[in-house]
């Protein structure tokens, strides 16, 4: 359950942010979300997020692409309209297969790449006409924002975050 009150701690440097994340985690506070202007290497591990499964999805999309290419080329070149190209009549898929390998390769890559990007967008809850969740537009420029839920431990958290080098600490009431 999301807490109704959250603290937004703002940092101006990714190294400071990384150190802060480690400190907050070691004090056993839950970090709801971090907004950064660019991907920060190792941040997911420091936050304790589960490893991504997008590689598995990508592999499966690649398999789909390979299958589509095989079925498509079989239909186009063998079933529907067989032609004699360069003295190689298209009567059997397996005998003409080398000619289809580039297509199989390209569609594997195409499916894996495009579906992986779309999956990533959807999994990040980003789709057309969606209102941005970003609480502070400065995180798209040069600021880093850490969102921590508050469970009546506001002062303790504020002190801890100040120590970690946050340049700004705001208490936000999400209920309103």
């Amino acid at each position: 359950m999301e807490a109704s009150k959250v603290i937004h701690a703002i940092y101006t440097d990714d190294d400071v942010l990384m150190a802060a994340v480690k400190k907050v985690k070691s004090a056993h506070h839950h970090i709801e979300e971090i907004y950064t202007p660019f991907p920060v290497h190792g941040l997911d591990k420091a936050m304790g997020l589960a490893p991504t499964r997008i590689a598995i999805a990508s592999f499966m999309y690649g398999c789909v692409g390979l299958t589509v290419a095989i079925v498509m080329m079989n239909f186009i070149m063998i079933q529907d309209w067989p032609q004699n190209i360069g003295g190689k009549p298209s009567f059997s898929y397996i005998e003409n297969m080398p000619a289809f390998v580039p297509i199989m390769f390209e569609l594997t890559v195409f499916f894996a790449a495009h579906l992986m990007v779309i999956t990533f967008y959807l999994r990040s809850r980003m789709w057309p006409f969606k209102k941005a969740e970003n609480p502070d537009p400065r995180t798209t420029d040069d600021h880093f924002l850490m969102e921590i839920p508050v469970h009546g431990n506001e002062n303790e958290l504020t002190n801890l975050l100040k120590e970690t080098g946050a340049v700004e600490i705001n208490l936000i009431d999400k209920a309103h």
Binding site: A55, F59, G86, G87, K88, P98, A99, V101, P102
Partner: protein, 458 residues
């Protein structure tokens, strides 16, 4: 400092002795005369399952015009009988006899080239590390230097076998070395300005001289850098590495035409040099990973971490796919255009070498693709070693497929001559590489990027 453990040393020497015995056995038993081969073939024909050999043989002969010319010429008397059947029989027996004579030469050459290729691939990879000023790899540089110690002896052995096969052998590897063949072959006559033993030898020595000069100076500067107080030696290595890479890319390509492609002097492929290079790089990087993991398991490379192994495994994966890309590019263009003088190369391989030819693609492409795809597996040492063994075996068979069809034709096998040759050169390789590793500290401590390498983290 690493000391060559006596256990590993006895393994290396044992392999060399075993290999030498086997190679000698191969040479002695291959020396069968006409009558012996005739009785052998008769016996084989009566046995079950071997009758097909004769059918295969005809195709092989068609695709090897030079071979045929050779046989026809040396046994022109047989043709004089006018009996087509007798003539055909004599030709067949002769063909098999020549193939058997060539087999120990070819077996020795394939194994010698395979181990030499590993060392040369590592030398190129080493030069890339310097030229790119790579920050992840300095902790592995000494391992690479150890492996490249085999480059000079390995290259001289390959060139030596090639030339010896033309001088004291039965022209066992390169038909263009046989003056009889050249006299009856317009195509080879046209190429004889390039393909003659003297120029072949001189060219080989120029290549080897250039490569060794780089290896000598880069090693010298690398050791001098250990005790230096500035980066002068590193900068020198950077410069010679860039120059070496230019030299290497030309000479590697020419070397692959000379030492491999010219076994089929009628056939040519414009991307052959690249194709050989890709195989060389995979094997080289696999060998770096294996030696690194071995030394690390002995606690000798304490600063090498999982991420270094991971990166090497990524290169193994990547270059395996690069190799396949070139293998397939070469195959598909030739298959599609179907020009007789080109396609004969693959016809022979599909008819007489189906299992090694297709099996090698599975070992060198499908296997690394599926096994090394998962990121976590690339960090498990035994997993990388296992994958590496399959990749190395696959690339041995790749070289086997390049040399054997043009030399022994359909009389191929992987038996005592082949396996003994592998033992012989594996022993020599281990002996030279690990002896070189003892010569310098395993950590290049004053390399300007060594700190970055220590903290390398994926």
């Amino acid at each position: 400092m690493y000391t060559f453990s006596s256990k590993l040393k006895s393994v290396a020497i044992g392999l060399m002795i075993l290999g030498t015995i086997g190679v000698a056995y191969g040479f002695f038993t291959s020396n069968k005369d006409f009558a012996a081969v005739e009785t052998m073939l008769k016996e084989a024909d009566h046995g079950d399952g071997h009758g097909a050999a004769a059918d295969h043989h005809e195709v092989a002969e068609d695709s090897h015009a030079t071979e045929e010319a050779h046989v026809e010429d040396t046994h022109a008397t047989a043709e004089g009988h006018g009996h087509a059947e007798v003539d055909e029989h004599t030709k067949h027996v002769n063909h098999v006899m020549h193939a058997m004579h060539k087999r120990p030469w070819a077996a020795l050459y394939v194994a010698a080239f395979f181990f030499f290729m590993i060392a040369l691939g590592v030398l190129a990879f080493y030069a890339v590390q310097y030229a790119a000023q790579a920050g992840w790899s300095p902790l592995l540089l000494r391992v690479m230097e150890g492996i490249t110690a085999y480059m000079l002896p390995g290259a001289l052995i390959v060139l030596g076998i090639a030339i010896a096969s033309g001088i004291i052998g039965h022209y066992g590897l390169f038909v263009w070395m046989d003056p009889d063949v050249v006299a009856h072959d317009k195509l080879i006559q046209g190429k004889s300005g390039w393909l003659n033993i003297t120029w072949f030898g001189v060219r080989g020595l120029i290549f080897i001289g250039g490569w060794y000069a780089y290896r000598y100076f880069s090693r010298k500067f690398s050791i001098a850098q250990d005790n230096a107080d500035d980066n002068k030696n590193f900068k020198k290595t950077f410069r010679i590495s860039a120059a070496f890479l230019v030299f290497f890319l030309y000479t590697e390509s020419m070397m692959s035409w000379d030492w491999i492609m010219s076994v089929d002097p009628h056939w040519f492929s414009t991307l052959f040099g690249w194709y050989v290079l890709a195989g060389m790089m995979v094997c080289g990087i696999t060998m770096i990973a294996m030696v690194t993991i071995y030394l690390k398991s002995k606690g000798l490379l304490p600063k090498v971490n999982d991420s270094h192994i991971h990166d090497l495994a990524k290169y193994m994966f990547g270059f395996s796919i690069f190799w396949t890309y070139l293998w397939f590019s070469q195959f598909m263009l030739i298959w599609y255009s179907n020009i007789p003088e080109e396609v004969t190369y693959f016809v022979t391989r599909f008819q007489d070498y189906q299992l090694p030819f297709l099996g090698m693609v599975a070992m060198n492409f499908v296997f690394p693709l599926l096994v090394l795809m998962n990121s976590d597996y690339k960090r498990i040492p035994w997993f990388v070693i296992m994958a590496g063994i399959v990749i190395l075996c696959g690339h041995y068979i790749d070289i086997f497929n390049m040399i054997m069809p043009a030399t022994v034709g359909d009389q191929w096998a992987i038996g005592i001559p082949e396996i003994s040759s592998i033992f012989l050169f594996a022993g020599l390789f281990i002996f030279i590489v690990f002896r070189a590793l003892t010569k310098a500290p395993l950590e290049p401590k004053r390399n300007p990027f060594v700190k970055e390498s220590e903290h390398f983290h994926y």
